[in-house]
Symmetry: C2
Subunit: 138 residues, 2 copies
């Protein structure tokens, strides 16, 4: 699949958001960083959805260009990079949690995911704060 | 752009959501229905982002297949259809509003959109209830 790069310059905040993460993969990468502490190409490639290397490279460059992630050399492996969410990336947490909550009504979830939906329902703000802290502590 | 139709059958609620609306256009159509009361092809085609007819047809069929919208003949124009959001479609409102709120921090908004962001910040639940009522009253 070729990623469409032409933007919607209409001033609409929904269109603006979709220009940045409106595709089938970007929010899965953000999910991996926010909820699963993933930070490297090999981490992302290991996820169940099996993103292809070229799509991953395209999305990470795009996220870096958009200021959603930053990239630094891995001090333990100079051939590899570590990605970190910026504030702009971190603040996608509520979008992600609302997607989880919505899907929770239509998809059979395992126990871990049921617990996550329940936590969103009962203490959304607390959960968001916890995710921010956890990601920033790294 | 060919729409990728292969699904991510991983049980992840984020992946599940992206299989339904993870593209550059679907949430714009949902926005048009939720916030602007649009209901027909010509309505959607008239939006600023200028969706192409073939992409629109593809997305509407997909949304119907996924139970997000229903379709009925327009009683005033038998060659045309009216689309209505199901509960599954309506309940995407929080996802949409969180995208608006996020973009509000990074995009210069006009007065109408600034007011919308302010309303989301101050009375998200009330706004959601109001949108539901307005859409369902049709």
């Amino acid at each position: 699949m070729k990623t469409e790069t032409k933007k919607h310059p209409t001033g609409c905040p929904v269109a603006f958001g979709l220009d940045i993460f409106g595709d089938r993969w970007t929010l899965l990468i953000i999910r991996d960083m926010l909820l699963h502490g993933k930070r490297t190409y090999s981490d992302f490639l290991a996820s169940d959805e099996k993103i292809a290397t070229n799509i991953l490279a395209n999305r990470m460059r795009h996220l870096e260009d958009e200021g959603v992630v930053t990239r630094a050399r891995d001090p333990e492996n100079r051939r590899s990079f570590i990605y970190t969410l910026t504030d702009k990336g971190l603040s996608l947490t509520p979008v992600l949690l609302e997607i989880v909550r919505w899907s929770g009504d239509y998809l059979r979830l395992n126990k871990y995911r049921q617990d996550l939906v329940q936590r969103i329902d009962s203490d959304r703000d607390g959960l968001i704060a916890e995710i921010y802290q956890r990601v920033q502590r790294k």
